[in-house]
């Protein structure tokens, strides 16, 4: 492949939409049949719905295939064979990789992959990295605690596949990682937005190093939506003097989307490997037109050990109206993953998404990176408290900043906030996935 190709897969990524849809339907039928024949869980699920794989002939039939949710995966996991349960489609002897979800919503889901599935993970990540400009000349630093969570494992393998030189940042602490990046002149890295900002803080405050003066040219983010939130993306790009790209994936699903080098304000769905449907939150109706938000139902079309078919991911997404100037026919989702159906909560009768608050807070240069939001019930009313830190030098503008912040929050979220200013560095710092939104009403 010539180095000049902007596409990892010049065939699939530019395939005409009609042919792409045909390919997806054909693959969907195959993977449903595979799961039906091999997994007692899927067989029972589909039988109860009166469905046999041969019944799927059209796109309307796809919608008849029962969805699965995380709780259902956990239930299936309780069955044999240990530890994966009845969703497993291959003999245990063919499983070569174990990973698990974080378990933040309860019992973690264990995920089995065969070696081929693991190759598939690296392949899916190769689309991401190639689209974001990673090439063999790159020295990629991966500041990730290689462990039971899939996180950036496949980013490591894909970097190798592209021919990059990979530096595993493993158990080094944050300061050591920064010094290693400096020493080796690493050109790219991967991490959660929270950790990328945290690293930049440590570089400046503890090491006296300006991260923008280091050699990092591109950063791939995952795990949180920050790299698609304009104000957070801007902070990271300015802090590191690098282009910051978003990617979304999940343990149960795979690496299903990526932002390309055009930074078009959204992410491409890898439609050669995944089928994404958007469903209206209230009616369940299929949304195919741009501009309407819904939740994502997703199928990994080529993952065999423990397939995830029509998984209700709870991610809120919407199709973009315009095609991407990059020329890919893979559709764009506008603004990346805009939230999660189970994170969006009603406060004072208004739907509130935590990402909307992040977008406002991170847009203020006078505010530090960390913030915290809590909602509590006082009598018959909800009270939202936003804790922030003022950056050094902004103390004398506190009243003006707070007034502007309140105005912008009201404009963006239609809600009023009690704002508390805390000393810089005093709010909790997060290493990986941050939990900045606390709904204390659920405790009562």
């Amino acid at each position: 492949m010539p180095e000049t190709s902007p596409y990892w897969n010049p065939y699939l990524e530019t395939l005409e939409p009609e042919r792409l849809r045909d390919l997806q339907l054909a693959k969907f039928r195959r993977i449903v049949a595979w799961a039906y024949e091999r997994s007692p869980y899927y067989c029972e699920l589909y039988r109860q719905a009166g469905l046999e794989p041969g019944d799927i002939r059209s796109w309307d039939d796809v919608r008849k295939v029962p969805k699965v949710e995380k709780d259902m995966l956990k239930d299936a996991q309780a069955a044999e064979p240990f530890p994966y349960g009845s969703r497993l489609c291959v003999p245990l002897s063919e499983v070569s990789e174990f990973r698990q979800t974080s378990g933040t919503t309860g019992t973690p889901v264990y995920q089995a992959d065969t070696w081929q599935d693991w190759e598939w993970w690296a392949e899916a990540w190769s689309y991401i990295l190639w689209a974001q400009g990673y090439r063999a000349r790159d020295r990629v630093f991966i500041p990730f605690g290689y462990n039971i969570f899939v996180a950036f494992w496949a980013g490591h393998y894909a970097s190798e596949k592209l021919g990059c030189e990979v530096v595993p940042g493993g158990v080094l602490d944050t300061a050591s990682r920064i010094l290693k990046i400096k020493e080796l002149k690493a050109t790219a890295m991967m991490g959660t937005p929270t950790y990328m900002l945290n690293m930049a803080d440590v570089a400046r405050e503890r090491l006296g190093v300006d991260p923008a003066g280091l050699s990092i040219q591109r950063i791939t983010c995952a795990g949180e939506p920050g790299a698609s939130i304009p104000s957070t993306k801007k902070r990271m790009q300015e802090a590191w003097g690098a282009k910051v790209f978003d990617h979304a994936g999940a343990t149960e699903i795979g690496a299903w989307s990526f932002e390309c080098a055009e930074q078009p304000g959204g992410m491409h769905v890898n439609e050669g490997l995944f089928l994404v449907e958007i469903e209206d939150l209230n009616t369940g109706e299929l949304i195919e037109e741009p501009g309407r938000k819904g939740k994502m139902i997703i199928t990994a079309l080529d993952r065999l050990a423990q397939p995830c078919l029509r998984f209700d991911s709870k991610d809120i997404i919407e199709w973009a109206a315009e095609p991407c100037p990059c020329g890919r026919s893979y559709r764009l989702i506008k603004g990346g993953v805009q939230g999660r159906a189970d994170d969006i909560t009603k406060v004072k009768g208004v739907l509130l998404s935590p990402t909307a608050i992040e977008e406002v807070v991170r847009g203020f240069n006078e505010l530090a990176d960390e913030y915290e939001v809590s909602v509590e019930r006082i009598g018959d009313s909800d009270k939202i408290t936003l804790k922030i830190e003022l950056n050094p030098g902004a103390e004398d503008q506190e009243q003006q900043v707070l007034a502007r912040l309140k105005d912008e929050l009201r404009l963006k979220t239609n809600l009023g906030y009690v704002i508390e200013v805390h000393p810089v560095g005093s709010l909790q710092r997060w290493e990986v996935k941050a939990r900045r939104f606390k709904d204390l009403r659920r405790l009562h």
Partner: protein
């Protein structure tokens, strides 16, 4: 990418997949061969996916 190039790549890939499947069968009991063949097979299947085939075509 020319259609003829893609077709030729597809034909060569199919041929390679058949050879590796045979090799895997032949090398049963010879781990240094068999396990490497399993890895080659997985890589060939990724090439098949890249050409728009289902990974299940070769299962």
């Amino acid at each position: 990418m020319q259609k003829t190039d893609l077709e030729q790549m597809g034909q060569m890939l199919t041929s390679l997949q058949k050879q590796v499947t045979e090799l895997k069968g032949l090398s049963a009991g010879f781990p240094a061969f068999e396990r490497n063949a399993v890895r080659i097979e997985a890589s060939l299947n990724m090439m098949a996916i890249a050409l728009g085939r289902s990974v299940l075509d070769n299962v």
